[in-house]
């Protein structure tokens, strides 16, 4: 929907010049701050501080990368889904994730960073993506658990982003959230069906929940006390709710769902706190989290290699499409080019 080729107010053929720090910039900054304070939206052609732009490019491109890499652990089960129905559902879900990646890359491109650059950063390992996808999907229940817990956590994170101060990102998130509801429900329903099955199937669900629970809690990011960038992101209206508050919301919403499902969440410290009106929970293993973020999780290398291979294997398709388009271009356009 949005492209980076936005140069409203610029004369054709003129490159937008970098604006020097000046009185004019101070004036722009004031207008920007006022807009943020009034809970307004920033749009691609508006002036914005460089740090705001950089933060958004980083966040939105990482978000896009997560959608794309997130197709891999679930894609692993498409050919082995237990029924045609579950296979069709899983294909539809993985297809949605690809679509979400595309919405987000487009939103990031409105900030002036090209898609080639973003992909190059992903493929070189410079850009991060959600750590949760660096864990393997070992049994069919993992597909259900990813829908229920991983997508559940992602939804918690994404709902406040629908009110993000950057217009294209907020609008992309609204679209994503609308589609995400099916993802969580199909996962939970798949687990419900397994829980009504054999003891072996129930054990499979419990094993899957045991492996994913703590990783999902870590998805919300480091505790507020150790999250140095959060405050600035809050000030800019990029982040609306703190990591710890989102994590708490997720836990409070998930415990009753686990009870209905009939699984145990693997945390002996998990219990209702009457005074706080929230669930208390145990310590998250942050060393393990950072170790995975920094490239040493069980599947980091495999995920990245698969991604790079898919991109390289697709080169002939991109070349062929371009060659075809050039061949069929009207004569006049060819001459002008």
């Amino acid at each position: 929907m949005y492209t980076q080729s936005f140069n409203v107010q610029e004369k054709p053929g003129e490159k937008p010049a970098a604006k020097p720090v000046s009185l004019e910039n101070a004036e722009s900054q004031k207008r920007f701050d006022a807009r943020i304070d009034a809970d307004g939206k920033i749009e691609p052609q508006d002036w914005m501080p460089e740090a705001y732009r950089k933060t958004l490019v980083r966040q939105i491109s990482q978000h896009a990368h997560s959608e794309i890499v997130g197709m891999l652990p679930e894609g692993n089960w498409i050919s082995r889904a237990p029924s045609l129905k579950r296979k069709a559902i899983l294909i539809a879900k993985v297809q949605d994730e690809g679509g979400h990646g595309l919405y987000l890359y487009s939103a990031a491109e409105t900030l002036g960073t090209g898609r080639d650059q973003m992909l190059a950063d992903l493929h070189s390992g410079k850009a991060k993506y959600s750590s949760i996808f660096n864990y393997p999907t070992l049994n069919w229940a993992d597909v259900g658990t990813i829908g229920w817990l991983v997508d559940g956590a992602a939804i918690m994170n994404q709902i406040p982003l629908c009110r993000c101060s950057y217009g294209p990102y907020a609008r992309a998130m609204i679209r994503v959230c609308k589609e995400e509801s099916f993802h969580q429900r199909q996962g939970y329903e798949a687990l419900l069906v397994m829980m009504q099955g054999t003891a072996e199937q129930r054990a499979m669900v419990q094993d899957s929940v045991n492996r994913f629970w703590w990783k999902c809690l870590a998805m919300f990011g480091p505790p507020d006390a150790n999250s140095p960038h959060s405050e600035q992101a809050m000030r800019w209206g990029i982040k609306r709710i703190s990591n710890d508050d989102l994590r708490q919301k997720f836990i409070d919403a998930t415990v009753p769902q686990a009870n209905v499902l009939g699984v145990t969440l693997p945390d002996p410290d998990l219990k209702w706190n009457e005074e706080r009106q929230h669930y208390d929970y145990g310590q998250i293993d942050w060393d393990e989290f950072w170790n995975t973020v920094n490239g040493n999780g069980p599947c980091n290398k495999e995920r990245l290699a698969t991604r790079v291979k898919a991109h390289n294997d697709g080169q002939w398709v991109r070349d062929a499409a371009l060659a075809y388009a050039q061949k069929h271009q009207p004569q006049t356009q060819k001459e002008a080019a």
Partner: protein, 100 residues
């Protein structure tokens, strides 16, 4: 033929998109003839936002728009009709789980 008449005849068609409110997307609201992009913006302001209907306008040359053919409608959109599992309502979730 006067210069003005020639110009009018040669003014290309532009599609106009208006953002009605801060934060919302631009929506198509109609088209108009204008000599160039700046001119089209000005005309769009006068034609489509006289009662403060917008906070931002896009104009796009109509000839730049590629549209799907009406006769392709079934081929393009019908395949989604039987994929009801793409909708959250396809899944039965016990009531006590609440909103999901």
């Amino acid at each position: 033929m006067t210069t003005t008449a020639t110009a009018l005849k040669d003014w290309p068609l532009w599609e106009v998109f208006v953002r009605s409110k801060q934060g919302l997307e631009h929506k198509h609201c109609g088209s108009l003839h204008a000599s160039d992009a700046q001119h089209a913006l000005q005309m769009a302001r006068d034609v489509y936002t006289r009662r403060q209907e917008g906070v931002s306008i896009w104009v796009v040359p109509s000839k730049s728009i590629t549209a799907s053919a009406p006769e392709d409608k079934d081929a393009l959109f019908e395949p989604a009709a039987d994929k009801i599992y793409r909708h959250p309502t396809f899944y039965d979730i016990p009531e006590e789980v609440g909103h999901m």
